[in-house]
Amino acid sequence: ALKGAPCPACGLTALAPAAQRDILIALAKQSILSKLRLPDRPNITQPTSRGALLTALRGMRAQRVDTAVSPGMPRGGSVRPGMGVQEYEMLSFAESGSSTSRSTRLHFRFTQELSGSTEILQATLYLFWADPGPGTHPVTVRLLQPDPTGPNVTVASETRLEVQRAGWTTLDVGQAVQSLFSQGSQRLTVELAVAEDWRSPRLAGHSDSHWPFVAAQARARTPHRVRRR
């Protein structure tokens, strides 16, 4: 309706354009936050370096191609959006944990919004080894998760790798992340332990675009949507 004249459909007087704009922007914010199940916009304390982000996105895309090619990988069926299910792809970059001459701990946090009614379709840990030096170096990768009965951590799984050259190594951590979520916990700890005299596994530095990350695909059940016809 023209400014000031009552709206022919609802009888209210038309809002001034500025007031209308403010209301629409408030609606847009509320709609996006509620659909992402965020109580408020997140405050970003440590944005990821652009290099690390691009490297990780490339890894994710490659992983998706692998999944498409090798049907054997666990992959949820394609679900039509709007059917009360929302799919997410997530990149969680490692936080440095405690380290000794023989081991390094990395922590990965998963968002509170996704835990609970979330099914992990796939989760892969990406580790980049910088200049391991000559020969083959055994590395034990332990996935630790908080012990629900106390302050300690339990070993969810242990894998032995043979590092021979610089480059990326991937590890399927889907099971460990799924069990974390079902316990309502959001933190996965990865411990890298080396044998013999090999100095602590040479992972790339935090600012480097080779910093370890977990790429996960998840499916969250959203409150059932009633579709009116």
């Binding site: 709609s31 996006i32 659909k35 997140p42 970003i44 997410y88």
Partner: protein
């Protein structure tokens, strides 16, 4: 569907772009740069109930129902979205993880009368 232009009063789609930089959200939403928050607005007098945006045969069916059941008794017809698509977002969550998701039915592509 019809896009609103000038002072059109009939049911149409109004475009409205929310620029994430303008609202100070560009630090946590990596992509896209904004949200096309279109909405439906305008009148749906009975003779246009069920107009395009839905199957034309639906329009005829509605008109026949109105004729058969005394037009006055017919309920109002409303201007609603008839085609929508998802909004794809790449954003930082509260743990500074990077999440990509498609939020279904967030962008209105067409409007029509029920």
């Amino acid at each position: 569907g019809i896009d609103c232009s000038g002072d059109s009063r009939m049911c149409c789609r109004k475009e409205f772009f929310v620029d994430f930089k303008e609202i100070g959200w560009e630090d946590w939403i990596i992509q896209p740069e904004g949200y096309q928050m279109n909405y439906c607005v305008g009148l749906c007098p009975l003779h246009v109930a069920g107009i395009p945006g839905l199957a034309a045969s639906f329009h005829t069916a509605v008109l026949n129902l109105i004729k058969a059941n005394n037009a006055d008794a017919a309920a109002d017809s409303c201007c609603v979205p008839t085609q929508r698509r998802p909004l794809s977002l790449l954003y930082y969550d509260r743990d500074s993880n990077i999440v990509k998701t498609d939020i279904p039915d967030m962008i209105v592509d067409a409007c029509g009368c029920t």
